[in-house]
Amino acid sequence: MSQHLPVLLVAVPLFLAPVAALVGRWKLAWAVAAAGCWWAFAASIMLLRRVMDEGTIHYAMGGWEAPYGIEYRIDLVSAFVALIVAAIGAVVIPYARTSIAKEVSEDRGALFYSAFLLCLSGLLGISVTGDVFNVFVFLEVSSLSAYAMIALGQDRRALTAAFQYLIMGSTGATFIVIGIGLLYVMTGTLNMADLAERLPAVSDNRTIPVAFTFLTVGITLKLALFPLHLWLPNAYTYAPSAVTAFIASTATKVAVYLLLRFFFTVFGAAFAFEQMQLDMVLMPLALVAILGMSLVAIYQENVKRLLAFSSVAQIGYMVLGISFGSVLGVTSGILHLFNHALMKGALFMAMGCVMYSVGSVRIEKMAGLGKVMPWTMAAFVGGGLSLIGVPFTVGFVSKWYLVQAALEQGMWPVAAVVMVGSLMALVYIWKVVEVAYFQAADPDHQIREAPLSMLVPTWVLVLASFYFGIDASTTASIATRAAETLLGVGL
């Protein structure tokens, strides 16, 4: 059993997806989905512990050794990202039970939870696989289910958002396939470790840089890095609340993981940063994303949209960390990946509570909510503080490492941009807080606090974002070790 843990992590939720579709009744389907999510959470914790104790775990599918078969190769980075995905899944699923029953009709519950499980297992599959084509397959499993779930939003714009996402996501996936093909044609292998071994011999060939370019652009599309982020704001805004919370905290994170995996494991830092001058491209884009998208977020009137633009900006932070190419930089990227999942999950879930009770997440509808929905709005403030980067929240820890990484390279203007970005976060979060706490509620509206089944998961994430902000040594040391694994130092 325990030696099969790597595959069971992915296979159990994937197997439960058709089960959920078959059971028919939505409550039963929910139970199946919950079982899948919680199993994945438990398994990912066990895996992370094993990786920390024993080092990288290999699992050969079908008993065929790599590079002839597909292998699961779980190092610290994989295990950490899998844990993030599974943890968010485990928290969102009880939340979804109430939220989805309201926002999506109940007769589609079974199919919805099936899609949810598919998305979860797809994302988990990407994070643990050691085979580049397998990445593509699981990417499509997660993407297709994500498109469908996003389209279930009540506003008709959810449909166009999902379509736009589908077009851009498929373009990205096709670019990734082209990149994989070009790598394959030069090396004859699809296994990541094998690729890493064989690439240096042929990296002078023009094909490899082009493969690198296509993979980067393809993943960047999935990642929604500025200026390829156009699908993200609409998708996050109009998707059902639970879906937004889940996708926002996992899908882009897994894309960041892919970026890390390709840059550092497959191509190697030397190729990516010295030969390809990756930092010259990524850093300006990340900086523009941080400043530009935070600015755009300030002017949004729909809070989910505001948070979506903030997500694009936060993705900028992660990419910025990666673009330093140093251990510290990559550490900050991985750390922020975890931290941002926590805080954005909490924020979007709080907005889901508002959607549940108020029926809209436009700012002007949130007047007086501080009084009528104290727990929801307190959760929003908590997540918002983290986004701003106040001490004792996870956002602070991210910023601490990111600024350190910038200063390490003597790039103090970059450090300044990071800080300006968090001040802009203050502006857009405070915009909401002021309306919620300083304006009187409309007495005609009978607004009640969201039900406990939604508040508890929200608060779990809020408290987690405080806990890991106060005691960040676990996450920080895992992230540091993960970064060292990626860069191949300190081992």
Binding site: H4, V7, A11, L14, F15, A17, P18, V19, A21, L22, Y59, A60, M61, G62, G63, S114
Partner: protein
């Protein structure tokens, strides 16, 4: 009206052959081109033909949508089930060697089983997709 008669008779003759061909593709996949995926598509094509000629109403009676959905889900479960079985028998996930005392026999059984899973899923999904699109009445604008 005559056209339709010819069409119906033609279809009635053709459909068994298509199904037969699908089975051939399925089981000959080890020796020539073909396999579960192609066979599934051809199977589905037979039903699509049936539905086109005899009307969706009749097709639904022959093959209720519920059954189609079940097929779509069942195939995935069969495929993954093979993986769980091999695991239970002490091999890795999808390691067919353990399915029979002789590894190559095991491989045969395993490939047969997973191809069956693929067939069932593809058939189910393709027909389900057809039902979904064809069953949606055009809403006049």
């Amino acid at each position: 009206m005559d056209d339709r008669v010819i069409l119906r008779i033609g279809a009635k003759i053709l459909i068994p052959f298509i199904l037969l061909f699908a089975l051939y593709v399925q089981f000959h996949g080890d020796y020539g081109p073909g396999g579960g995926f192609q066979a599934g598509v051809i199977f589905a094509a037979a039903f699509v033909l049936y539905a086109l000629v005899f009307g969706l109403g009749n097709a639904v009676k022959v093959l209720p949508p519920q059954a189609v959905y079940v097929c779509g889900a069942l195939g995935v479960m069969i495929y993954m089930g093979v993986g769980f079985v091999t695991m239970a028998l002490g091999g890795a996930f999808l390691d067919y060697n353990v399915l029979a005392p002789d590894p190559t026999h095991g491989q045969h059984y395993g490939i047969l089983a997973v191809e069956l899973g693929v067939l069932v899923t593809v058939f189910g999904v393709m027909v389900a997709l057809f039902y979904a699109f064809a069953g949606r009445r055009r809403l006049d604008l």
